[in-house]
Symmetry: C2
Subunit: 613 residues, 2 copies
Amino acid sequence: MKGYRNRVLRVDLTARSFSEESLDPTLIHDFVGGGGFGAKLLYDELPPGVDPLGEDSALVFVAGPLAGTSAQSFGRWKVFFKSPLTGGFFKSSGGGFFASELKFAGFDAIIVKGKADRPVYLWVHDGSYEFRDASYLWGLDCDDTHTLIREDLHDPKVRLACIGPAGELGVKYAGIFSDRRTAGRGGGGTVMGSKNLKAIALRGKEKIPLAEPERFREAVREQVRRYRNDPNFERFSLRGTQNAEFTNVLGIFPTRNFREGVLPGYENIDSSAFDKIRVRNTACHNCMLHCGSLTKINKGNYRGSWSEGPEYETIWAFTGPLLCSDIGLTVVADKMCDDLGLDTISTGDAIGFAYELYEKGILTKEDTGGLELTYGNDAPVLTLIKQIAYRQGIGELLAEGTREASQRIGKGSDQYAMHVKGLDIPAYDPRGAKAHGLSMMTASLGADHGYGYAGQEIFGVPYKGKSIDRFAIEGKGELTKWNQDNRAIWNLGIMCAFASRYFDHELFGRLLCSATGHREFLDPEFLLLVGERVINLERMFNCREGFDRKDDVYPSRFLEDPLPEGPSKGQVFEADVLLEDYYRVRGWDPETGIPTKEKLAELGLEYTLEPGK
Amino acid sequence: MKGYRNRVLRVDLTARSFSEESLDPTLIHDFVGGGGFGAKLLYDELPPGVDPLGEDSALVFVAGPLAGTSAQSFGRWKVFFKSPLTGGFFKSSGGGFFASELKFAGFDAIIVKGKADRPVYLWVHDGSYEFRDASYLWGLDCDDTHTLIREDLHDPKVRLACIGPAGELGVKYAGIFSDRRTAGRGGGGTVMGSKNLKAIALRGKEKIPLAEPERFREAVREQVRRYRNDPNFERFSLRGTQNAEFTNVLGIFPTRNFREGVLPGYENIDSSAFDKIRVRNTACHNCMLHCGSLTKINKGNYRGSWSEGPEYETIWAFTGPLLCSDIGLTVVADKMCDDLGLDTISTGDAIGFAYELYEKGILTKEDTGGLELTYGNDAPVLTLIKQIAYRQGIGELLAEGTREASQRIGKGSDQYAMHVKGLDIPAYDPRGAKAHGLSMMTASLGADHGYGYAGQEIFGVPYKGKSIDRFAIEGKGELTKWNQDNRAIWNLGIMCAFASRYFDHELFGRLLCSATGHREFLDPEFLLLVGERVINLERMFNCREGFDRKDDVYPSRFLEDPLPEGPSKGQVFEADVLLEDYYRVRGWDPETGIPTKEKLAELGLEYTLEPGK
């Protein structure tokens, strides 16, 4: 078995036991690896209706078949779980060195079930594994947890995925952190905390054997050529996603809790503003892009703060929702969320939600403990972040996510809870980018921007040789399906989204095939089928939980209130017509939004219709 | 040249230049190494009257001849400088791995002079060296500085000595930090900050060649045998200095700013209290003692806090002076001082001083910005620590140290400034341990407890086969001279103070001789002469700066007010008679306290009497 390690580690925290499994050849054929493996393993692992934070829920950590090889930009890992925020299928992705180290340590995946009776961490090294006491780590932030576990293991090169106080305390959107790279969304850290699992620590020295080393090297050389030949490579490599203006100029930079699409003062947080505070670039394992940035604030209210990041979404999360534009706040809030273990997007959304409720008088100064949540006032933000992480004051409520918080508050506050399926909406106003919006509305995860990113609308990437009108409705069902299926394909290798611009299915297939020896991976039609299979399996996971068309829905604001200003002025999101087009293209029932039997048969997913499956 | 690296690195930050020097054979003969080298190099390096924070001042970092070898407990380093707190000679000592790494990187010492025009750090590796930008590190705490420099150098095993915000901002008692081991006292971090030097980073792979490897191994085996045969080894190894009761039971645990000697509630911070919060032990390079402790607070006001330490002095610093006994406060204050870059002893003294002034009405609530500095109230302590580190509020004043602060405040506050020569007094009341007190009163550093630690009085260690009455006056001059000279001998190897119980001059000489090949080191008489030489050279450094008998003085409290309660009740410190006895034994002029010409000639230090020397 090449490329893969052919070992899945199964951990039972209740029984404090381990077991190992080989990879099922059917699993490889049907799901290739990475995001495919994770979706199938989670689907099989979880009984329908399971409590996401109960003992029977699972976390599935997966590295892709190209992780740890010399192929560039495959250093990401994914974690699969039932989300405590959405109650549905979830996958969240982190960078750094954890994926490669998992492969070096001898495994393709780790499945964690059960609940430890007291805090533990998992130590996996060179094919061995053990539980270690984490009582003393409970309550510690992610940075300190990295430091102390490395000291405990007497090896500063150990790689970790861990949670902070937010995950321990059950904040519903707690993330999982690895060297300041985050699998932030959906509450994976919350699930980990519910299991009393503080961290997974990895170290290994096993190299990844390749099926056809010479062909593999040639494919990597081709990949590197493509990177180098891109005239935008240097720029992207320097700035990464630190360019908040790219949506602002389209008028879809959500502002004032998604009321508007243009941020006044955005020039304070645009790419040239970040050029001034960037210290150096950082990278994941074997990635020439090194798109990460270390930033440092040397003046203003947040002087002395630093972070790795913030990335685009975080820059937005602490500006747009609050009508603020202090670059220092984005840096310090990013670091604080990384340390405390919070998803920055949901944190920003929760705070923006509170600001709007405060404006509307639904939350008062009494509710906020004296904090003045008026748009443009950044003074309460750091306090709110801490309160959320430790579930103190108004943070107790906001820690539940905007959907649940609005249900508890009542008073019509649900119209200001900006989420899809419970997942708070990221930094794109769907009204000005219909396919992008359609993907966020239909994604199994809820409002996730990466599930089927519409680069055609945001960056003008051609689709089938043509440029796409971002306001147009026609054809957006097809485009969205393509974007989602295609992203699912890259996810089979857990390829970084930023590398996809250098890839076609042919080169990707060459890497996969020469690494693993599976010749079918060379066939683009095969890959497309697997991509669609993954999307449909994820959908069926949710249908099993009772999800259907009613859950593919946006807050009324997008449907009823046209964007008031800027380059997307006047646009609303035409939800029904877009959704029906999408269902049609998908082969999903137009009434229920559930994949038809025919579609499932075509994809070899009939078993998802069987009872108990 | 064996044992030594025979290389001293000289750094000029103003000129941004480096040079190297070999060790002078006279230096080796007269001063052996470590603390001897440092004293002589500093004496030679600094012109009289130099501003400690001026461009012409120097920092001398030194590793001993046994650092980096397999000998146990020689992993400490020392830094020498003119103290901004005392205006006199200073040496401060830190543990961890910095000393060994300096040897591995190819050097015995680094002399830093000048001032960089913007923040830099020094990167010394495998015999090479360079300056690196530290602008982005300015303002960062010590922990983050370690992390980011290791990332910058792509080597998690780099060892550092660095400063925190306190050192940058000129707090007069800022320390130098290496992996949470601290050269805390006297303001070495302040000097470093004044030079715009954020850190020294080290990495090296050179082994230390030994003159007589087999004899050396035999001496190490003997050392290890002695450790193992000590019935108290396990206990000491487990608890280190986390046993505050050892002075409390003698009634010399300074309480309420040195007014009393017994702390009510000391059982909250005694050794069994620390047994409950200890996570694991930590060690310096090649040290079986592993006396360090990682601690974690799991309940109470300071829940979730952790630290490496606190050690005895820090446990005291945040309890006794303030009449508090919360173990959680000692842990969180320890970590905060480590991160912000503060000496814990002077910080605790400064806060205790402020508490007493508040009680006396010399400082009011207006002065403290609303903080209530009443004995027993620990609520303001963390705020005060931050204010000191950042020189904000009342911290601006307290950052100067108690002597200078009292001079600025006036109103008779100087009687509450508990210092000798400007160095704030550590956790021993001199009234109940006369030789220990005499050493702190006469030490060139000011009130330093390690300069001539009177284990005979504190632990009942026999002296010349006899037990010592700690209240007695007779013979304390001789005992103090012995303790100081003897400590200066161990410092030649920069041996950890805690290891000295396992050593005699014979074994120490065998290690030194077999490592370096210098046979004179085998002679105890030779070593005693060098020890005395070092003490006298340090004294002459101070005399050159205008120090004399008037500076060997305690606050009047110790001389006039008997200890009111406890096992040392009724004791005062008989300063004059003790001092005269000490001068007599030292061969120092009884009127001036300056070493006589005869004494200096006996020690080969006549040159200290020459003009300009």
